[in-house]
Symmetry: C2
Subunit: 330 residues, 2 copies
């Protein structure tokens, strides 16, 4: 449900895995274009989609008799979409989220939004998260990911539904950890991008990613996530892919901020969502609620709000008081 780059690539992947799949695109014109040309020219130009993939802009038609509903809308519009679909979502279907973000205002992660709107039991919810740059997957480059669900049968069914020779999903019970990691890595990627934009080297980049992952883990710990998730594909793996790839929207957005553009200037030049720009304020609010020290997220939120300069963010990361690495402030 959602024909952005990752939604489209995942629908293509499901089809390749032998799973009968229908892609829902919000815009009827786009749906028709994708159905006829077998290419999503806006989000995955040049990638041919498999013949077996259905495409529609009619949500009820896409959802009809579905065992599995994969959510791939922007984070801030998921709630409105779910409300609109309402009863068209089959009772008993597994709802799997590809969406990485934190809802503004409510501070909800995506499976929480699903539960609030659709009132489905937690056992029917899943999250798919890992180092999965959409374009590479659409081009069938090898990748691995995590399929997280409280119910191990649900996780294994989902794993089977998306397993292909080029895509290797691992199961995990840690839904919360995957959601925290997925939302926060976009914010760290913004910071890393700022460093890139300022001409910092790979040593500084690696250090910033390390301190950023530590921050992500601390927030996760406060929310009872499994610390191992942050060392795994959905934590470290996704962070690395997002921070090193020239394709990553959040890293690229940060790079432009690091070069001196304002948020408004960058927004004027990009068609895709940089989720971290929206989620950083919710993330900071969440961290404060749980008393977690998050200097990277705080710095990024300051830059996005316009009262911190990217140079000051990186400078403050380097000049904090010397201390032991393993002392984690609460």
């Amino acid at each position: 449900m959602g024909a952005g780059s990752w939604g489209t690539a995942f629908a293509s992947l499901l089809t390749d895995a032998g799973t009968d799949t229908v892609l829902w695109a919000r815009d009827p014109g786009r749906a028709q274009e994708i159905a006829e040309n077998r290419v999503n020219a806006r989000y995955l130009p040049g990638v041919r989609l498999p013949d077996g993939l259905g495409v529609t802009s009619d949500a009820a038609q896409a959802l009809q008799d579905a065992d599995l509903v994969v959510l791939a809308t922007p984070a801030q519009t998921l709630r409105a979409n779910l409300v609109a679909w309402g009863d068209a979502v089959p009772r008993g279907a597994v709802l799997a989220s590809l969406v990485k973000g934190i809802e503004l205002g409510t501070l909800c992660f995506m499976t929480e939004v699903v539960r609030e709107v659709l009132d489905v039991p937690q056992q029917q919810l899943a999250v798919i998260s890992g180092p999965n740059l959409a374009r590479e997957i659409a081009e069938k480059h090898p990748a691995a990911s995590v399929v997280a669900a409280l119910d191990v049968d649900v996780a294994e069914a989902l794993q089977a539904a998306c397993r292909t020779p080029y895509f290797r999903p691992y199961t995990s019970p840690d839904v919360v950890g995957c959601e925290v990691a997925g939302a926060l890595k976009n914010i760290v990627a913004l910071a890393v991008g700022m460093g890139d934009g300022m001409g910092y080297g790979d040593n500084g980049k690696a250090a910033l990613m390390t301190r950023g992952l530590a921050e992500m883990s601390r927030v996760g710990a406060a929310l009872d996530a499994d610390p191992l998730t942050f060392a795994g594909l959905a934590g470290l793996g996704d962070l690395v892919a997002t921070c090193i790839s020239p394709l990553s929207r959040n890293r690229t957005f940060g790079e432009r901020l690091g070069r001196g553009e304002t948020v408004a200037e960058v927004l004027a030049h990009t068609s895709q969502t940089a989720e971290g720009v929206k989620s950083c304020l919710s993330a900071l609010e969440l961290a404060r609620k749980y008393n977690v020290d998050v200097p990277v997220i705080e710095g990024v939120a300051g830059v996005v709000a316009g009262h911190v300069h990217p140079t000051d963010l990186v400078h403050s990361m380097m000049s904090r008081e010397m201390r032991s690495e393993l002392d984690h402030p609460a």
Copy 2:
């Protein structure tokens, strides 16, 4: 002690930090050249070394009255160097290792080699390890690192000795963890380089780094290292810098293997040591001794020994039996 790229860059860093420093170069001609031109033309061409840095090829002169002896020789020649220096190493001096590797035959990490040869108490030993590409540090790009010593006073003195506005050292008590991480990351970087050479994308690269770090952590756990070290600058941080940098020797070596060159062919074209090529056999032996499952290291050792093709290494990583991510085989 050692005028390779990292030894030279660290000597320069110590001098910048206000620490009175003498750089020892094995070759008298090179020592004279560095002393006169203030440039190490072979290992750090174009980088001007600070005026205050002394340079000599006379080890006894370099070691005389030293409070701190920084070891920066190749891993496989450290023992022979220590034997040669012998009594010239002042009793009571702190011995800090920059050397990342495992000695062939003995399976010793570097501080173990020091203890065997010089019989110094464990309290005088330290390791410096982190995302520290030598050239970037010589050029004063911002970086952070870990200074590990059992004795916290030693760690803090060393931290003070190398702290500059562009270099931020954190202390840690986990000497073993830093040595395991430093030695094994070179091997993972070889595997990642092979993927680069075969044209794999950033998703696969991130997944391989994640699985590689998990392997490093498992070996560390078997040797009673602190798991947090592997999530920190000396683990994740160093691995990331090594795997993403075009400057990294191990990654570059792997890339050439991935393109189809043999080990002998690559060796014929490189002047610098790719430590992982030597350490992978010791690392595999060590892992087997402790019954740790290390598919990445095993694959790299197979490629280096010539009986595994890089394609098969990556292919076998992707086709292993599907399972839960958090099940760590012992």
